[in-house]
């Protein structure tokens, strides 16, 4: 088994060899390491992408807008990912961002996962028919974990979720009430001995 440290170092060097700057290669190393940590096929897709990159053209998107559509060639997932990561503080205000025609989207997703941690918000993705939740870079969950990841996404819709509870007030209150059963009702004598008791607050 390869260690994550080996994965990160090798990806960094391979990315540099594939034509990216050292700084971008460092980012790619971190992102692929993350995918492998989550048991997602980072190495496999990066390898395929680099092979294809020799034969086909990919488009670099540096400035991300609400709707992003590549004219001819699919977007490079690394440049797109780094741009997303860099611009996340601005993109946060958009709520919903759409990308058309993204190559090897799992690579792009790893950068979105890291962005989720930076802004402290969950990010919900719809990639064609597939749904993915990026949970503050702690995990990535999806409804197709055992299926093959696509090599091309026609449409990726990115929704930045507001921080909200996953449960109702009713469910919370019920649980809280149960937790109160670990508290002790204070008698007068306990109140007299409590911290701050006996002092005047008007001194």
């Amino acid at each position: 088994m390869k260690s994550l440290s080996e994965i990160e170092t090798t990806v960094k060097r391979a990315s540099k060899a594939a034509g990216y700057s050292w700084g971008v290669s460092e980012e790619t190393g971190k992102s692929i390491r993350l995918l492998e940590l989550f048991s997602l096929p980072g190495i496999k897709h990066l390898n395929e992408y680099f092979n294809e990159k020799n034969k086909s053209k990919f488009e670099n998107l540096n400035l991300i807008n609400e709707n992003n559509s590549s004219s001819n060639n699919p977007y490079c997932p690394i440049t797109l990912g780094v741009s997303f990561l860099d611009q996340i503080n601005v993109l946060e205000n958009l709520k919903k961002i759409e990308f058309k025609n993204v190559a090897y989207p799992i690579i792009f997703i790893s950068f979105i996962s890291r962005s989720s941690e930076i802004i402290g918000k969950k990010i919900y993705l719809k990639m064609d028919e597939k749904k993915i939740l990026l949970n503050l870079n702690v995990n990535i969950s999806s409804n197709f974990i055992e299926q093959e990841f696509p090599k091309l996404a026609n449409t990726i819709e990115v929704n930045l979720l507001e921080n909200e509870d996953n449960f109702t007030d009713y469910e919370w209150n019920n649980l809280y009430k149960l937790s109160e059963e670990t508290f002790v009702e204070e008698s007068d004598s306990l109140k007299e001995g409590a911290a701050g008791a006996g002092l005047t607050d008007n001194d």
Binding site: L4, S5, E6, K30, N62, R114, I118
Partner: protein, 553 residues
């Protein structure tokens, strides 16, 4: 009185960093302190009469066990090489997490001796190999087998029976990633497990010579005297592989240096020094003279440094004896000022290290601050503005900005990774091929390039916007934001200039390991000694903390 931390622009110069010495903060000393209460055991010693076979040593506390597995092999003299290109070694080692099963040992027997081309698993923590110092090893075996102790003069010239040529950890070759074990309290200090490996290897070398000598002549052979064992360490040959580490781990480097700087500041701020503390300090300085006078090297560069160190330490002791009163206020601050005014960098840092000896209460908490969660500081704050980044560079890299990289001598070298051994190397960019594959270790030059770009960029641009057209500078943008928070994270010098002495970078790291007797064999590699004078495993529960100044051979 408040003493300021020393200026990073002075301390982080290579000549200063290359003058650092071991101290109480050093990793091998903090390792011994952490593991002194652990139960040491030799679990297996299955060597043939020539000393070849397997052995297992362990440290255990409660349910945690770390086991060193040793494989001693027969190799021909012509196969023995300390260079990283070697493929066979006298012995190979791995530190296993837990108690190894027979199956583990069988698996590792096929992998560990192969080192870089073998595969380890997440159950192994560190990996190393070592070669005999043949001259010393044979002499010791010969002497013991005749019932005599070896010649101390000969031993003192080398100081060890074996020297390691690499110690790997943190995920290399399939070893466990650091994150798997980072929450273990006992290894909350850099390189703890590497230190454990080296320490246990030292014991293996003693057991092996005793074993071989016994089988040579069972009737009259004697064991190597414990006091001699104690005064032998483990050698290490180190090349350029270490140099990029300190560039590639900026927050870790900061935490090492910052701990040292905080220690010095706190010691200088002590108003009244207790007699027992000043006595201990002076005693250590005096006893340490032997470490200097027994420091053998053929390197003219190092001989010069040793000679000026010895001269200045003697001058310092003379000053302390004749002109100094430890009963005056803030004596260590006065000593420090005197050192800066009167001695060389090597001596200043030497005495600074020894100042820490009396102060466990200052040093022990700092030892816990010497690791770093580097991931936390990796992301670039891209919402910040160009003018902020420019201000950081002006404030944090003032001397770097003065270097003219258009001049050939300032841009002479380049760092690369050799295809043969995947090891870092340094070469002349104007004479050798390969500079197009330069590693990102020319930080000073790239910071200067970044600064020049920032000068012609709009102040109001965000870093995200700046990076869209300056991707090639991304690695140094990251570093500049790191140095803003971590003042000692950057070497404030040119790492590609013609005057670069790469061994300064090696010495910095090795001093934090706790190495002694730096012996440069060129400007690119050196030999050192570790654990010389250290307590033996069965003495750990109660040992003299200042052992490092009390070697007897």
């Amino acid at each position: 009185m408040k003493v300021e931390l020393r200026d990073p622009n002075k301390i982080m110069k290579l000549s200063r960093l290359g003058s650092f010495h071991q101290s109480k903060l050093s990793f091998l000393r903090s390792f011994l302190n952490e593991f002194k209460e652990w139960e040491y055991k030799r679990d297996l010693f299955n060597l043939n009469e020539n000393g070849f076979g397997e052995a297992v040593y362990s440290f255990k506390k409660n349910k945690r066990v770390y086991s060193l597995i040793c494989f001693a092999n027969e190799i021909k003299d012509e196969e023995r090489s300390d260079r990283v290109i070697a493929t066979k070694w006298d012995a190979a080692f791995t530190l296993h997490d837990g108690v190894p099963t027979k199956k583990d040992i069988e698996r590792l027997k096929n992998e560990v001796p192969k080192q870089e081309v073998g595969r380890l698993s997440y159950k192994e923590l560190t990996l190393s190999r070592a070669n005999k110092s043949v001259r010393i090893y044979n002499h010791v075996v010969e002497s013991l087998s005749k019932g005599q102790q070896p010649d101390l003069n000969l031993l003192s010239k080398v100081g060890y029976l074996y020297r390691t040529t690499a110690v790997y950890g943190s995920g290399k070759f399939g070893l466990a990633d650091r994150f798997r074990i980072k929450n273990r309290e006992e290894i909350n200090g850099p390189f703890r497990l590497e230190m454990m490996l080296v320490y246990l290897v030292r014991q293996f070398t003693f057991d092996q010579v005793n074993h071989v000598a016994y089988h040579k002549n069972p009737k009259i052979a004697v064991k190597l005297d414990d006091n001699i064992c104690k005064n032998l360490g483990i050698g290490n040959s180190t090349g350029l592989g270490m140099a990029p580490f300190i560039v590639n781990h900026p927050t870790l480097l900061n935490n090492w240096i910052l701990s040292r700087e905080k220690a010095l500041k706190k010691i200088r701020e002590i108003k009244d020094v207790e007699s027992q503390d000043s006595d201990l300090f002076i005693d250590c300085v005096k006893k340490s003279l032997k470490n200097i006078t027994s420091w053998n090297t053929d390197s003219k560069y190092q001989q010069k440094k040793i000679s000026s160190l010895l001269k200045d330490v003697e001058k310092f002791l003379n000053f302390i004896d004749k002109d100094f009163n430890f009963k005056s206020e803030y004596p260590f601050d006065k000593i420090y000022q005197w050192l800066e005014d009167n001695t060389c960098e090597e001596c200043i840092e030497y005495i600074v290290s020894i100042m820490m000896e009396p102060y466990n209460d200052i040093i022990n908490p700092l030892v816990k601050e010497m690791s770093s969660d580097e991931e936390k500081y990796f992301n670039i704050p891209t919402y910040r503005k160009v003018d902020e980044l420019r201000n950081i560079i002006e404030a944090k890299y003032p001397n770097i900005l003065d270097i003219n990289f258009e001049e050939k001598e300032n841009n002479k070298n380049f760092w690369f990774i050799s295809k043969n051994k995947e090891e870092p190397r340094l070469a002349d960019r104007f004479e050798e091929h390969g500079s197009e594959l330069e590693q990102p270790l020319a930080i000073a030059r790239d910071i200067k390039k970044l600064y020049d770009k920032l000068l012609v960029s709009k102040n109001s641009l965000t870093i995200a916007e700046f990076l869209t057209s300056n991707s090639e500078l991304r690695h140094v943008v990251r570093r500049a934001f790191i140095v803003e928070k971590f003042p000692y994270s950057e070497i404030q010098d040119n790492t590609i200039g013609k005057d670069l002495m790469p061994i300064d970078m090696l010495r910095l790291k090795l001093s934090f390991f706790g190495a002694l007797k730096f012996d440069p064999r060129s400007d690119k590699w050196l030999r050192i000694c570790m654990f010389q004078g250290a307590p033996l495993p069965n003495e750990l529960k109660s040992y003299d903390e200042q052992w490092v100044y009390k070697t007897n051979i």
